[in-house]
C-alpha cells in the first residue's frame, strides 16, 4: 500500500488535484465554467494523442510524427473542402489518411526493423513537408458552422463542453484496453522484454504495427478537431505538439524504456500541464515562462524516482551489512 502511494503516477495525480484546488482558490476566474471550457479545448489535442502515445511508449517505442500527421490531415481537410467535397466524407477520409500515415511508420519500424526514433523523426519532417505541399502557407477557414460550432460549443446549459464526451469515451476505452485486457498486458510484456514476449506467443511486430496505425488515426482525428476548433486549416497546425505529448506522457510516470506506466497517471500529467499553463496565463505570466516548469517537471519525473531508488538501495544495503555484522 505504501509502495503504491509512493509511486510516481500517484504522486502526479495528487499533485494535479492539489494544483486544481489551489488554482481555483487563488487564481481569479480559474474555476469559472467559461474557463473550464477553454481548458478542455486546450487539453483536447494533447490528451487524445497521448492515449496511443502511452501505448507506444509502454512497448518501448516512440512516435514523434504525431503532430505532423495532424498538420497533414488539417491541410488535406482544407484542400478537399476547397475542392467541394462534402464535410461528411472529408472527416472519415482524414482519419483514414492518418491511419495510412501511421501504417507507413509501423511498416518501416516492424517490417524493416528500423529504430522508431529515427523513423518518426524522418516522417515528422516528411508529413509536415507534405502538409505544406498540399496547402502551402495559405489557410482555409470557411468550414460549416454546425461543425465548428459543435467543437467549441457546450452541452445543454453550457457548463460541459461537447468535446469532453469523445475525450472521456476514448480515455475509458484506452484505459480498459491497457489495464483490463490481455492486449494491455501484452503491451507491458513487450516493453519489459520484447524477445521474451515473442517467445511467450505475443505477436510483437503485429501489435506494434497496429499501435502505429491507431496513433496515426487518432492524430488524424485530432487534425480534424483542431481544424474545426480554430476553423482554420493550415499546414503548420499543431507544430511542436509531439514534444508536449511526450512530455505529458513521461510526466505521467510512463518509462521511456517501456514496460511501466499507467493511463490515469498520463491523464493527470496532461491535466497538470494544461491547468498550470491556464492558471499562469490568467495570472499574466507569459506562456514561454511555463516552458521552464514543463521542462523541469519532465526531468524531475524521471530523476526523483531514480534518486528515491538509489537512496532506498543504499539504505537496504546498509541494513544488510549491519545485520551481517551482527
Amino acid at each position: 500500500m505504501f509502495k503504491k502511494l509512493a509511486s510516481w503516477d500517484s504522486i502526479i495525480i495528487l499533485l494535479t488535484v492539489l494544483v486544481l484546488i489551489v488554482a481555483s482558490v487563488v487564481v481569479d476566474n480559474f474555476g469559472t465554467s467559461r474557463n473550464f471550457t477553454f481548458m478542455v479545448l486546450d487539453l483536447m489535442p494533447i490528451i487524445l494523442v497521448a492515449l496511443p502515445m502511452t501505448f507506444i511508449i509502454i512497448t518501448g517505442e516512440i512516435d514523434l510524427s504525431v503532430a505532423s500527421v495532424l498538420g497533414l490531415t488539417s491541410s488535406l481537410m482544407g484542400w478537399l473542402w476547397n475542392h467541394d467535397m462534402a464535410i461528411q466524407t472529408i472527416i472519415p477520409l482524414c482519419i483514414v489518411i492518418g491511419a495510412v500515415a501511421g501504417a507507413l511508420n509501423g511498416f518501416l519500424i516492424t517490417g524493416l526493423g528500423l529504430p522508431s526514433l529515427a523513423v518518426t523523426i524522418g516522417t515528422l519532417a516528411l508529413y509536415r513537408g507534405l502538409a505544406f505541399v498540399v496547402l502551402g502557407d495559405s489557410a482555409v477557414a470557411d468550414f460549416p458552422f454546425n461543425f465548428t460550432g459543435w467543437v467549441t460549443g457546450t452541452l445543454g446549459d453550457g457548463s460541459i463542453p461537447n468535446v469532453l464526451i469523445p475525450i472521456i469515451a476514448m480515455a475509458v476505452v484506452f484505459g480498459v484496453i491497457l489495464h483490463a485486457t490481455p492486449v494491455g498486458r501484452a503491451l507491458y510484456a513487450i516493453g519489459a522484454n520484447a524477445q521474451a514476449a515473442h517467445f511467450s506467443g505475443i505477436r510483437v511486430a503485429r501489435t506494434k504495427l497496429w499501435l502505429y496505425v491507431v496513433s496515426g488515426a487518432v492524430s488524424g482525428l485530432v487534425g480534424v478537431l483542431w481544424t474545426l476548433r480554430y476553423s482554420s486549416a493550415r499546414a503548420d497546425n499543431g507544430a511542436g505538439l509531439e514534444l508536449a505529448v511526450v512530455a505529458a506522457v513521461l510526466l505521467g510516470g510512463v518509462s521511456i524504456f517501456g514496460g511501466k506506466g499507467s493511463l490515469p497517471g498520463v491523464l493527470a500529467g496532461v491535466v497538470l500541464l494544461t491547468a498550470l499553463q491556464n492558471a499562469l496565463r490568467l495570472e499574466d505570466v507569459s506562456g514561454q515562462a511555463l516552458n521552464i516548469v514543463t521542462g523541469a517537471l519532465l526531468v524531475l519525473s524521471v530523476l526523483l524516482p531514480n534518486i528515491v531508488t538509489t537512496v532506498r538501495g543504499n539504505w537496504q544495503r546498509r541494513r544488510l551489512r549491519q545485520s551481517a555484522a551482527q
Binding site: P115, A118, I121, F132, L243, S286
Partner: protein
C-alpha cells in the same frame, strides 16, 4: 582466434563505411550536376559561397550531435542552446560595442558548455535517459531565453560593425564561418578516428556495459561529449547572431530537427557506435544544397521539408541494409570456422 581472424572482419566494415560517405558525395555530385545543367549560375562563386555559409552553422552543430549520437545518446536541446547563446552574444555586443569578436565566441562556447554539462550530469549521474533530459532542457533553455528577452529583439543596427562583418570577412578567400566549420568538423573527425578518446566513444556506443567493464572512463567521456555538443551549439549561436544580425528569443527554434537529420543522413546510426563526424558534415552540406537547389530549379520551396524527411528514411534504410549484410557475412564466416 588467430590474428588473421581478428583482422578479417574489419575489412568489409571499413569498405562499407567508406561507401556510406561516398554515397552522400555521389548524391551531392549528381544534385549539383543536374542543377547546374538547368541553371549554370548554381556553380557561380556567389552561389557556392552562400551554400557554404549556410552549411557552416549546421555543420558545427552536427559535429557535436554526431559525437553524442555515436555514444548512443541524443541531444535535442541544441536549438535552444543556440538560442540562449545567440541572445547572450547579441545583448553583450550591443551593450559593449568595443568587445572583440573572440570574446563573443568564447562567451558563446562557455554558455553552451555549461548547458551541455547540465545535460551530461543529468544523463550520467541522474540516470535519466538522454532523450528525456534534452527534451526537458529544450524547454528549459528556451524558457530562460524568453524570460530574459521578453518580446524584445536585438537589431543589426545595434550591433558593432566588426561583429556583423565577421560573417562576411574571409581569410585567403575562405569566409571565417566556413573556416571555423572546417576546423571543427576536421578536428573532431581526426580525434574520433585516431585518438584514444575517440575510439572509446565509439566503444561506449557499441556496448555501454562492455565499455564500462573494459575500464573506459565512461562518465568523463560522456560528460565530455555533452559539453562539446553544448559548446558547439553555443558557438553556432554566436555565428548565427553574426550572420543574421537580428536576434530574438526564438532564434534556432526547431534547429534540433535539422541537426539530427544531418547526422542521420550523414550515416551516423541512432543506436550509436558507428558513423563519422565528416559524414555528418556532409549530411549538413547535402541538406543545405538541396534547399538551395530547389530554389534554383524553381521547385516549390514547400517540397524541401518533405524531401528532407524522405532522405532521413532513405538513409536509415540504407544503414539497415548495410548492417544486415555485415551480420550475414559475419555469420557465414563464423559458420566456416
Amino acid at each position: 582466434m588467430t590474428p588473421l581472424a581478428l583482422q578479417k572482419p574489419r575489412k568489409p566494415t571499413m569498405n562499407l563505411l567508406k561507401t556510406r560517405e561516398l554515397g552522400i558525395l555521389l548524391a551531392l555530385a549528381l544534385l549539383v550536376l543536374y542543377t547546374t545543367i538547368n541553371n549554370p549560375r548554381f556553380l557561380s562563386g556567389q552561389s557556392i559561397r552562400d551554400n557554404l555559409l549556410n552549411t557552416a552553422i549546421l555543420a558545427v552543430m552536427a559535429t557535436g550531435q554526431a559525437i553524442v549520437v555515436i555514444t548512443r545518446n541524443i541531444d535535442l536541446s541544441v536549438g535552444s542552446v543556440l538560442g540562449i547563446s545567440a541572445w547572450t552574444a547579441a545583448t553583450m555586443m550591443s551593450d559593449h560595442q568595443g568587445l572583440p569578436m573572440i570574446v563573443a565566441i568564447l562567451v558563446g562556447l562557455a554558455v553552451g558548455a555549461v548547458a551541455g554539462l547540465l545535460n551530461g550530469v543529468l544523463v550520467r549521474y541522474g540516470k535519466v535517459p538522454a532523450l528525456v533530459v534534452t527534451l526537458g532542457t529544450l524547454y528549459i533553455y528556451r524558457g530562460i531565453t524568453y524570460q530574459w528577452a521578453g518580446g524584445s529583439q536585438v537589431n543589426a543596427d545595434k550591433l558593432p560593425a566588426h561583429f556583423l562583418n565577421f560573417a562576411n570577412d574571409s581569410l585567403l578567400g575562405i569566409p571565417w564561418l566556413v573556416l571555423i566549420a572546417l576546423l571543427v568538423v576536421g578536428g573532431a573527425t581526426l580525434v574520433m578516428r585516431n585518438y584514444r578518446v575517440g575510439r572509446e566513444l565509439y566503444a561506449m556506443g557499441s556496448s555501454p556495459q562492455a565499455a564500462e567493464l573494459a575500464g573506459i572512463k565512461v562518465a568523463r567521456n560522456l560528460l565530455g561529449a555533452f559539453v562539446l555538443s553544448g559548446a558547439l551549439a553555443g558557438l553556432a549561436g554566436v555565428l548565427f547572431a553574426a550572420r543574421f544580425g537580428t536576434v530574438d528569443a526564438s532564434a534556432g527554434t526547431g534547429y534540433e530537427l535539422n541537426v539530427v537529420a544531418a547526422v542521420v543522413v550523414g550515416g551516423v546510426a541512432v543506436f550509436g557506435g558507428s558513423g563519422t563526424v565528416w559524414g555528418a558534415g556532409l549530411g549538413a552540406l547535402l541538406l543545405t544544397v538541396i534547399s538551395s537547389a530547389l530554389a534554383v530549379l524553381d521547385i516549390n520551396q514547400f517540397w524541401q521539408q518533405a524531401i528532407v524527411g524522405a532522405l532521413i528514411i532513405l538513409a536509415i534504410c540504407a544503414d539497415r541494409l548495410v548492417a544486415v549484410r555485415i551480420a550475414r557475412s559475419l555469420r557465414k564466416r563464423d559458420a566456416h570456422v
